[in-house]
Amino acid sequence: MPSIQKTFHVTKNDFIHAGEASIHVKNLLKSLNYVPDLVRRVAICGYEAEMNLVMHGGDGELSVDVNADRIIVDVIDHGQGIADVELAMQEGYSTAKDEYREMGFGAGMGLPNIKKNSDEMVITSEQGNGTHVKMVFFNKGLNV
């Protein structure tokens, strides 16, 4: 299978289109016959990272690099960055605004969900220079 790369622009505070990049990725993987568990894990992680970008990041991109044996999702924003990545990884910790919490976001479960559902996760962030969340998923089902 040839590798496929796609990039989707994600806009800060755009709740109307939030989640659409992740839906595109999920539909792409389904069309390529990846096993349902892998599609589910990528969908969860992509969505969490995409919503983090919408709520906390500046504008940015969600990119996917699809190969037969592994999928890499990179979510890169140009926002303010994360002050303390270790603290942000703790379940329950959130800096979400009250209006986002009322919508059911900001439970402090996003990054832990990504950690739990990806095979590798790397966060690179510097205050003032945005955040890069890299997620790797290995295809152990080999349906493709």
């Binding site: 109307i16 989640g19 999920k26 589910r40 919508m103 976001f105 439970a107 479960m109 969900n113 739990k116």
Partner: protein, 109 residues
């Protein structure tokens, strides 16, 4: 059970996504924190929530849910209806609580 049968049995009001009424209901999930729902809801479930904004549709699509039921008297925003119609995700409303409805559905599935 099909979503359509659930609608008839529990007197739910369909407000969007009628194209998906023949989906199979394989389980249920109650939750209002979207990350908790994303992380734990099962494929083919019917999701009961008080959230009525448009972002619930993306969660339902990504988790391949059968349908969303908005409980507690909330009504969906117009953007929620538009998105659900586009994605073919049925959205119903139920005036009572998620607790009450989930008990009825649990007993019936």
């Amino acid at each position: 059970m099909k979503v359509r049968e659930l609608v008839e049995k529990f007197d739910l009001t369909v407000v969007a996504g009628e194209a998906g009424l023949n989906r199979d209901v394989q389980g249920g999930f109650c939750g209002d924190l979207l990350s908790e729902v994303m992380g734990n809801a099962g494929i083919g479930c019917v999701w009961m929530t008080v959230q009525a904004h448009q972002n619930i549709v993306a969660v339902a699509v990504l988790r391949e849910m059968a349908a969303i039921i908005i409980t507690g008297g909330a009504t969906p925003a117009p953007e929620t209806v538009d998105k659900a119609d586009l994605e073919g995700i049925p959205v119903m409303i139920y005036p009572g609580t998620s607790f009450e409805l989930s008990g009825k559905i649990y007993a019936d599935l």
